[in-house]
């Protein structure tokens, strides 16, 4: 499989009242054509900023992409002019956000919002773009498309709005969709509908997807490969099967252990990750996870570990003690 997107050593920072925040601190990942890659992490870990950086939508001047390369089909997006970048957005890479109501324009009809992309990016006539819009609504399972095109976002329910967002993302036949918590605001039965829809469309149309989420269940069901982020860095990556069966970073292990699971007998007590999420403006020296880590040693507090191969091919973890996290140790 050919690499579609290669993010190399990306660093994005923000100037805030509390000081400089390194929201994305040197992350690298690859998305191959047609595959689904997950970026998992909790709030403030930098997962959304990493996606916004790929789209070059980081709000300036507070935010700034400092360094790194974002190779899309071999071209470095960071080297493109704003004009060239506009051609990439929507047409090549589209984005689906968590809260569809804030990303849809409340005063434009659905028809207008769906035809704008094809008219601008694909040079379609109004009539062709409208036909495309009807086709798109059908694709995402919205019935009665002709009538729906004349309606406004507030006429749609949360789940329907997310279908609209997916239709808009697909409008110009992109090769890659970045979905930032696409189902977090939705009820569980609607979440299942939207995720099934995204998966079937991605397979049918061959669109690659990056799913950004905090939900480990969603990742398990839909992702081929997983990147786990903590405090601006990717701390573990590998195939989904490998990450879940043989997690080697204490944070990944802690996350997996802390959630109650319906497929397992109920535990008497949950095993939380102790402590608080890190303050990005005041990160400790060494490993950012060390203050909360049960495996920490003196070295962890002094020196930040880099990603290193462990376990199966393609599996890497940034932990000095990764070798200790064998299945036997984890069971203890």
């Amino acid at each position: 499989m050919a690499a579609l997107l290669e993010v190399e050593n990306l660093r994005t920072q923000f100037q805030t009242a509390a000081g400089t925040v390194q929201a994305v601190d040197g992350i690298s990942y690859t998305v191959n054509e047609g595959e689904t890659v997950a970026i998992v992490g909790e709030s403030g870990c930098g997962k959304s900023v990493s996606a916004l950086s790929v789209m070059r939508l980081v709000a300036e001047p507070a935010g700034r992409i400092e360094s790194g390369r974002i190779l899309y089909k071999g071209r470095d997006l960071l080297a493109l002019s704003e004009e060239e970048m506009r051609d990439i957005r929507g047409r090549e890479i589209a984005m689906v956000f968590q809260e569809p109501m804030t990303s849809l324009n409340p005063v434009l009809t659905i028809g207008r919002q769906l035809t704008e992309g094809p008219e601008i990016h694909l040079g379609m006539t109004q009539a062709d773009a409208r036909a495309r819009a009807v086709e798109l609504l059908g694709l995402v399972g919205i019935s009665d498309p002709e009538r729906r095109l004349a309606q406004y976002p507030h006429h749609f329910s949360g789940g329907m709005r997310q279908r609209l967002m997916i239709a808009m993302a697909l409008a110009c036949k992109p090769s890659l969709i970045l979905a930032d918590e696409p189902t977090t605001a939705l009820d569980v039965t609607i979440q299942a509908q939207i995720l099934e829809l995204m998966r079937s469309l991605s397979r049918r149309l061959g669109v690659a997807m990056v799913i950004i989420t905090h939900n480990l269940g969603v990742v398990a069901r839909y992702a081929d490969r997983v990147n786990v982020m903590y405090a601006g860095r990717i701390i573990e990556k590998g195939s989904a099967a490998e990450i879940y069966a043989d997690p080697r970073h204490p944070y990944t292990l802690g996350l997996l252990r802390s959630v109650p699971r319906l497929d397992e007998p109920r535990r008497a007590r949950l095993v939380p990750i102790e402590g608080q999420p890190p303050d990005l403006a005041r990160l400790p020296p060494g490993c950012s996870f060390a203050p909360r880590c049960v495996y920490r040693t003196a070295r962890c507090e002094a020196e930040a570990p880099a990603l290193a191969a462990i376990g199966a091919p393609g599996h890497v973890a940034a932990c000095w003690e990764a070798g200790r996290l064998t299945p036997r140790e984890r069971a203890a």
Binding site: E42, S43, S157, G159, M160, D187, V188, T189, I190, Q191, A192, Q193, L195, E196, H214, N215, L216, G217, V218, V219, A220, R221, A223, A240, A241, Y244, A245, G254, L255, L256, S258, V259, P260, R261, L262, D263, R266, R267, R269, L270, V271, P272, I273, E274, Q276, P277
Partner: protein, 324 residues
Amino acid sequence: MSEVLLQVENLVKHFSVGGGLRGGHAGLVRAVDGVSFTLRRGETLGLVGESGCGKTTTGRCILLLERPTSGRIVFEGSDLAALDAAALRAVRRRIQVIFQDPYSSLNPRMTIGQILAEPLKVHGIVREKRARTDRVRELLSQVGLLPQHAERYPHQLSGGQRQRVGIARALAMEPSLIVCDEPVSALDVSIQAQIINLLEDLQARYGLTYLFIAHDLSVVRHISNRVAVMYLGRIVEMTDRRRLYEEPLHPYTRALLSAVPIPDPELEARREHTVLKGEVPSPLNPPSGCVFHPRCPKAVERCAAAVPPLREIRSDHLAACDLA
């Protein structure tokens, strides 16, 4: 079995809506449409369902934040509707709440110490200032915070710490019942388990009773002794934790359980998923008969005709489905 703390009988809460700028005819939202359950002292009843199912409105009626359209709420032996103002004030102390979003429920201009001391003063629980400071310190330690947190403002705390303050504020009133309305759903995964463990510890220590309202079925299974599943204003299934999750009877409960993704890729690949069609209908205009029938994978013709009552299908296992 321990004594009954709370009894909710045929609770109904309708909201009238509509009118708007041009008048138009008003509609009736049947937010809660005949809900009955019993809570025993020291137990946790999980109330699950998707948005708009009426679980929060049910909680708000019990908290006396909404006046029920009809039905009875009996708490510690007295019918809430029959109480006078003084008695109600006492009851309000005994029933506390923990909200979903600890940030919007804490006054940003007050320190944590002030937030916790105020209800102690207003309700005359601790009259002397010095003693109040001590009590605040004690409350902070009960929820795993440090004495110096009393000097901080809500924005200086993390989400998990703010939720601990919310819990301390509820505890300050020495309640017997706490309505927990989505207490962990706004928190990060790694923090959720901390708060759930804290709630369990406090329950064990103070004999608290919880009505645990949530949409996360895994969390509800962990914390509840019994579970009620709501759909469009009604309870569609209610039983003990084990049977609800291992032997669900109502097609909606089954669909909900099947929709929860499990953090195990191999299991997920093997698992069969029932993806429900359509969305929850509007409570303004609920479907005829069983309100779930338009989305039900098992529905037959008669499901559209009559509302199936919540009936005891097995001992202490209730479901509102003719086919169960």
